[in-house]
């Protein structure tokens, strides 16, 4: 599904990531952890085609990202839900219009997905806020909205980069439960976080593997963490 082979990535200065090989199997649940600045976000970006590796190969859905055009990447994003730490919305559209945005962008009518949209809003607990504008939402509400937007296209993979960075413990637990539910529905989930407590709490509910970035390389962390 997502396959990295001897991937390296360097920003102007030195190498940030090197010799990374990774394979995310369908239906798996992975955490990606490591200290701040270790390259978690960069690795996530490599995984959803926002960055091209400086060496090695990244294959997404069995296609090399180097061979993809921007429009190919756009089509790919419809099969991958992405949630950022500081999620951005179209601030002049209401919450429900924002969540339905991927449908419009892919040429599907929001009306046809009306019921799905309602279910989704209910699932993330934002039904009452559907007419609110994004700037009026709290941090937790924004994260849940971003998650709803990421999964409305029913993607095969959900990538979340520090989804709990801006919210309190209860809200992080709630977000993680949503991600676990998605994983149980068969979606591949990759969550980048520096919060080990969160990882521990989650491991009680789901068979999650933990990938740790250290010294520019990726290691499979032990079961004890």
């Amino acid at each position: 599904m997502i396959e990295l082979e001897n991937v390296a990535y360097s920003y102007g200065g030195g190498e940030l990531l090197s010799d990374i090989s990774l394979k995310l199997a369908p239906g798996s649940f992975h955490f990606l952890t490591g200290p701040s600045g270790s390259g978690k976000t960069t690795l996530m970006k490599l995984c959803y085609g926002a960055l091209l590796p400086t060496a090695g190969h990244v294959r997404l859905f069995d296609r090399d990202v180097r061979a993809m055009t921007r429009d190919d990447v756009a089509l790919l994003r419809r099969r991958m839900g992405v949630v950022h730490q500081d999620c951005q919305f179209l601030d002049h559209l209401t919450l429900s219009q924002n969540i339905a945005l991927p449908l419009h962008a892919s040429g599907r009518s929001a009306e046809a997905a009306g019921e799905d949209l309602e279910d989704l809003m209910h699932w993330v607990g934002l039904t009452e806020r559907s007419a609110a504008l994004p700037p009026e939402l709290s941090g937790g509400e924004r994260q849940r909205a971003a998650l709803a937007r990421a999964v409305i296209m029913s993607p095969d993979v959900v990538l979340a980069d520090e989804p709990t960075g801006n919210v309190d413990w209860d809200m992080s637990q709630r977000l993680l439960r949503l991600l676990i539910e998605l994983n149980r529905m068969g979606k591949t989930v990759l969550v980048a976080t520096h919060d080990l407590g969160l990882i521990r709490a989650t491991k009680a509910h789901v068979q999650a593997r933990v990938l740790r970035i250290a010294n520019r390389r990726i290691q499979l962390a032990g079961a004890d963490l």
Partner: protein, 302 residues
Amino acid sequence: MKGLRAQLVRAFQPDTQADRVVPPSGFTAQLTLFAAGAMAFLAVFALALSLAAGRLAEQWGSELARSATIRIAAPDDQQQAQTNAALRILETTRGVAQARALSNEEQAALLAPWFGAELELDSLPVPRLIEVIETEEGMDAAGLRLRLAAEVPGAMLDDHSRWRAPLVKAASRLKMLGWVSSVLIAAVTAAMVTLAANAALAANAQVISVLRLVGATDDYIARAFIRRFTLRALIGALVGMVLGMIAVLLLPGGEDETASFLTGLGFQGLHWLVPLLIPPLAAAVAFIATRMAARRTLESPT
């Protein structure tokens, strides 16, 4: 280029959702409208100038080219004989459709504005004028001049080319200037729309990155911008064109166009349809300019 046609079709398809994706921008929208309108207004005058100058050049060129005058200045006793000789030569000259000596009354009428109606023509040594009308192919003025010089010593051929040529040249140059102005106006419109579109694209960088994230193709992102600027240019140019045409209509006109270039400035007959091309052209220019600006922005790494 298959994308181009699809984009063209979609640019005019109402799609309120796609429009909503980009936040409305009140002030710059009005500036684009105003600039498109002003450019269309100016374009109407540039076209009026070109078309009027073109008409004038053509008229002067063709009407005057087909007429010439022979002036016979000879002592009284020889004048009739020389006139007859000149007419005989003209009869056998190729390219002359018709030649006729003016009567005393006609010559008096021509001179009346200068000497008054009471002039006794007989009391003055007035030369005889022969009016020559050429055929379509025209005649060989130099050859005719040689034959006249040999047989009719008092004859002077004036084929009007001496004073006509610079006028025709000036009118053609004016016509060209009018077209150059039209092209410049179109180029300025393109530059203005490009600037406005670049500003809009830069101001909406966040919108673009959000759309990218949710899987919007370049085409989808560009569409919202293209549609907006194309419609603005179209509406602005429409208003500017209507105002420009009203202004041209209100120009004081003369009965005779050749009487004065200034009173002839305007449109005639089917030429009134030419300015109707301005709004669609402005829209096309805006469409292309926005499309290029959007493409450049979307291609640059984010």
